[in-house]
């Protein structure tokens, strides 16, 4: 119970930070961060997805926009997966609750797995 109450200020701080960053993500996409080759695009999309926060449906909408603007499905998939599996913004809460070592490694592994899952999904989709 006490640990729950101790998390509350961190939680409020993270929500304030998330509020500040919500509008920045679409701007980053439109600034031309993507469109420089498959691997670079996957990394860029993974990074933007990691920084983003909010409902998964928002990532689908943005991913749809990316597809329309010519970004390939590998990058779009990395973006969608990173959006829901990596949490840079939630890191302070995760670190406070579960330990910083755990939080940092978990997010780093999730960051790399986002690209792996994107590759596996699009490749296996090609076989069907």
């Amino acid at each position: 119970m006490r640990s729950f109450l101790r998390l509350l200020p961190v939680l409020a701080g993270v929500l304030l930070l998330a509020g500040l960053l919500v509008d920045l993500i679409p701007q980053l996409i439109h600034m031309g961060v993507l469109g420089h080759g498959r691997i670079t695009d996957m990394l860029g999309a993974d990074l933007i997805g990691s920084l983003a926060t909010g409902q998964p449906v928002v990532s689908y909408l943005l991913a749809g926009e990316l597809r329309k603007s010519g970004v390939d499905l590998y990058s779009v998939s990395a973006f969608i997966v990173a959006w829901v599996t990596v949490g840079v913004i939630t890191l302070p809460v995760e670190g406070a609750a579960l330990g910083w070592r755990f939080a940092l490694w978990r997010n780093l592994v999730a960051f790399l797995f986002a690209m792996l899952i994107a590759w596996l999904t699009v490749t296996t989709l090609g076989w069907l």
């Binding site: 119970m1 640990s3 729950f4 101790r6 998390l7 509350l8 200020p9 961190v10 939680l11 409020a12 701080g13 993270v14 929500l15 304030l16 930070l17 998330a18 509020g19 500040l20 919500v22 509008d23 909010g54 409902q55 998964p56 449906v57 689908y60 991913a63 749809g64 998939s77 969608i80 997966v81 829901v84 599996t85 949490g87 939630t90 302070p92 809460v93 995760e94 670190g95 406070a96 609750a97 579960l98 330990g99 910083w100 070592r101 755990f102 490694w105 978990r106 592994v109 999730a110 797995f113 792996l116 899952i117 596996l120 999904t121 296996t124 989709l125 069907l128």
Partner: protein, 212 residues
Amino acid sequence: MDSNAPEGTDKRGIPGGWLFLGGMLLLYLVVYALSPQYALGAFAHFLEMTQDILPILLFVFLLLWAFDLVSGIQERLGQLSGEGSGLKGWLLAIGGGILSHGPVYPWYSLLQHLQARGTRPALIAAFLYARSIKLPWLPLMAHYFGLGYMLLLTLWIAVLSIPHGWLVERLTSQKSRPESGCRQFCVAWPRPPSTDRRQRQRQQQGHGHEPR
């Protein structure tokens, strides 16, 4: 200092959580001075998100309260997901992750309780990874990207939550290794003989750390 120690356990001074919150409020003041419109918009997002997570936060609070009332539940859950939990533990973590609802923030507190009662880091990581499968949103993903894409992506996330958890556990369980300047990255190298007397005795008794 143990980097795994939860923040805020230090009884001296202002807890880190409050300092972080203070820093964020300060940041809002700076942003407001630069662009009042952006700061107000961000604050509106904050209120929206807070409203979004309040029900689930209340749910987790009640859950923890109930756990505290019924002694033994946390220990039982800890056993079910502890070292010897095997396949049952993985299924519990992945199934629980997929079925868990709402924003992640409130769940951290519950996971923290379970972690303290012996739940494997691998299962906590797998739970958090499997949480990315959002059942209510799957039809919408299928609508945008096709049924095949949605099924494959969901399947790969569920399957890879196991190696993800395993890898995170391997990477985070290096804390008991001796000081050698490469504590986190020299995983495959044999350990030099310990200079610590107590550790040497442990190694002679067969409890030494083997390279993972």
